[in-house]
């Protein structure tokens, strides 16, 4: 269970913003926390999965996709801000993500 520092928070945000800017071919400046991943960026769940792989590798996370899938069904992500928050929760709680709700 990792403590989320300001530096991790900023790093995650930067990776997510850069990822969507590159993948969706938009300027980073056009993305903010309220940007809709589907409606504004034409993004999809595959992008979400790729980001998880990147964070898994970067932070050496022990997290199964199934756990994230279950969490995402209960807490759907539609905006970039929500996605950053969920990535931070994944880094913080890893496979114990579902325990947040208990």
């Amino acid at each position: 269970m990792a403590a989320i520092t300001e530096s991790i928070r900023n790093e995650v945000k930067e990776i997510v913003y850069s990822f969507f800017a590159e993948e969706c071919e938009v300027e980073i400046a056009q993305i903010n926390e309220n940007t809709s991943i589907i409606n504004d960026l034409d993004g999809d769940s595959l992008m979400f999965l790729e980001l998880i792989e990147i964070f898994k590798k970067k932070y050496n996370l022990d997290i199964e996709l199934k756990v994230i899938g279950k969490y995402a069904v209960k807490h759907p992500v539609t905006t970039i801000g929500q996605l950053v928050d969920m990535q931070l929760l994944i880094i913080e709680h890893e496979n114990r993500l579902m325990e947040i709700d208990q």
């Binding site: 990822f19 590159e22 993948e23 071919e25 999809d44 769940s45 595959l46 999965l49 790729e50 792989e53 990147i54 590798k57 970067k58 996709l65 199934k66 994230i68 899938g69 279950k70 069904v73 209960k74």
Partner: protein, 341 residues
Amino acid sequence: MFLISKIGIIGEGKMGSGIFNYLLDYPFELTWVCSPQADTDKLTRQFAKRINRSLDAGIIDQQRFDSLKQTTLTRSLDDLKRCNLIIEAVPEIPQLKRELFAGLDKIVDPAAIFTSNSSSINPSRLAIAGNSRRQLAGLHFFYPVALKNIVEFTVTEEITEETRMVVETFLKTIQRRFITLDEKNSFMLNKIFLDLQNEAFLLVHAGHCSYVQMDQLVKTHLFPFGIFDFCDSVGLDTMLWSVMNYTAQYPHESYYSQFINALSELVSQGRLGMKTQRGFHDYPMESEVVPPPVNALEIVNHLRQAYLSSAKRFTALAHIPMDDANHAIKEYFNLDKGPFE
């Protein structure tokens, strides 16, 4: 027995792209054929960026990167010539799929296995003169492909033992659990869910609660998603096709007629679900919680019974071992516990 090495995936919808992206993690040579309307330049750019990012992030090594660079993204069916497994994921229109397979029959190696990701059309319905039913099968993946560890493998009566073994070996290689179904019992998981959808609809239709109340009750007591939310997310036009295909095989088809009529009515009004912002619900949905109906407990118990009896009936009909049925149903409904646990 030959082993699958070159796979062709047809269709760039969410299932086609999901299957393509999932298979990228396994050592196959992939060819992804998109429709003439698809922006393959954009898809190719995205794919190149993705494998570059994966290399940079250390997710794949240089050798894997070099092999992924051999992946073909195309609009031409001719590029499937060397494939020994075809997985089609084009729209749910029998004629379209039949014509596709007929065309492929002239292009692809005669030993290749043709499979369909259809969620409602049996593989033998896709055979036409010139096609060999022995090498046809259903491979029904579920969305999202990366997360749902279950595939329905539908076999025709004519399937050869070798084809069956080759496909089973392929599914084990890609680490997907599967249930094998004959064509009379195909699409078992969707059929279990259809019974629930129908029961939920009949309860709403009889005035016991609203669609919103029903979805709230289901999410609180039964499954992680609402029944009508689910229909809207699939798309009511797709739902209608599927339900009509399933129920056409049923002796008690009229049991579903009110639900089918309601789906037809919504589709004719252009209410296709989330993609048109209107379906059973209007979108974006109000986030406020509505009060439960007075007979909430009875409704939940009724639906739970319908779920259990439908799961039991279809599992018995399809002769699926209990453990496999539990796993399949858990994956499908995203549950922690199967109906027989």
